[in-house]
């Protein structure tokens, strides 16, 4: 018995497709790694331009030395209450510096990169924002990236 009755018939329900896997091998131990945080949580320096809450494909650099009180969040897609209480609950920069101090990792990268997820033009994120951030991390010899989003 064949279930196929009509050629070319397909469901009208949109079925999202998971993209092909990507995977970079880890080649050195944690205590030899320079680590960056990259987040889509909308974190940026208070002195920098806020993200457009209606959708924004731009990104910001945050120095690895930035203090909590110099940082803020512009993101319209999640409840900011916790992150406004403590930036580390979404952007664990103090914790990362402590891990570098105790030798768990080698160093904190010179720059963290941030964007505002949950909206914006997927094509621009794929073709411009993502590759530009990746190139900067390569230029700055970053060995590993911890992300928060989703």
């Amino acid at each position: 018995m064949s279930l196929k009755k009509i050629d070319g018939l397909q469901s009208e329900i949109f079925v999202p497709i998971t993209p092909k896997p990507v995977f970079a091998k880890v080649t050195k131990p944690l205590n030899e790694m320079t680590v960056a945080i990259v987040t889509a949580a909308g974190v940026h320096l208070k002195t920098d331009t806020p993200f457009n809450l209606a959708g924004d494909t731009s990104y910001r650099a945050v120095p690895g030395t930035a203090k909590d009180e110099e940082l803020m969040v512009s993101h319209g897609g999640y409840d900011n209450t916790d992150v406004n209480r403590d930036i580390n609950s979404m952007f664990p920069i103090d914790r990362l510096r402590e891990l570098a101090d105790e030798g768990f990792i080698k160093a904190v990268a010179p720059s963290m990169y941030t964007c505002m997820g949950g909206g914006g033009d997927v094509k621009v994120f794929t073709e411009k924002t993502g590759p530009e951030i990746a190139q900067k991390l390569l230029d700055e010899k970053v060995d590993a990236v911890v992300m928060t989003a989703g």
Partner: protein
């Protein structure tokens, strides 16, 4: 996750701390960890240094441990937001 895949594809290993594991799975994350946290406190409860340190350390260890793309490891931390 688009940005995570872009970084991974130039050869830098990445791991994401996710509050919504099904979303990062759908979008093709290379590596993820999932503590039991609400979106907005992915890296742990505000001002709970012990939890935040634990989550970050475990996350970095899973960066080394995870040996296949798309794997999501649950982390034993729980924070229920009172907001």
């Amino acid at each position: 996750m688009i940005v995570q895949r872009a970084i991974e594809s130039v050869g830098i290993p990445t791991i994401i701390i996710a509050a919504l594991p099904p979303v990062v799975r759908q979008q093709g994350t290379p590596r993820a960890v999932a503590p039991r946290v609400p979106m907005g406190a992915n890296a742990g409860e505000p001002h709970n240094v012990e939890m935040q340190t634990g989550i970050l350390k475990d996350t970095l260890e899973q960066l080394e441990e995870i040996d296949q793309p798309g794997k999501i490891v649950e982390l034993p931390y729980e924070y229920i937001a009172q907001i």
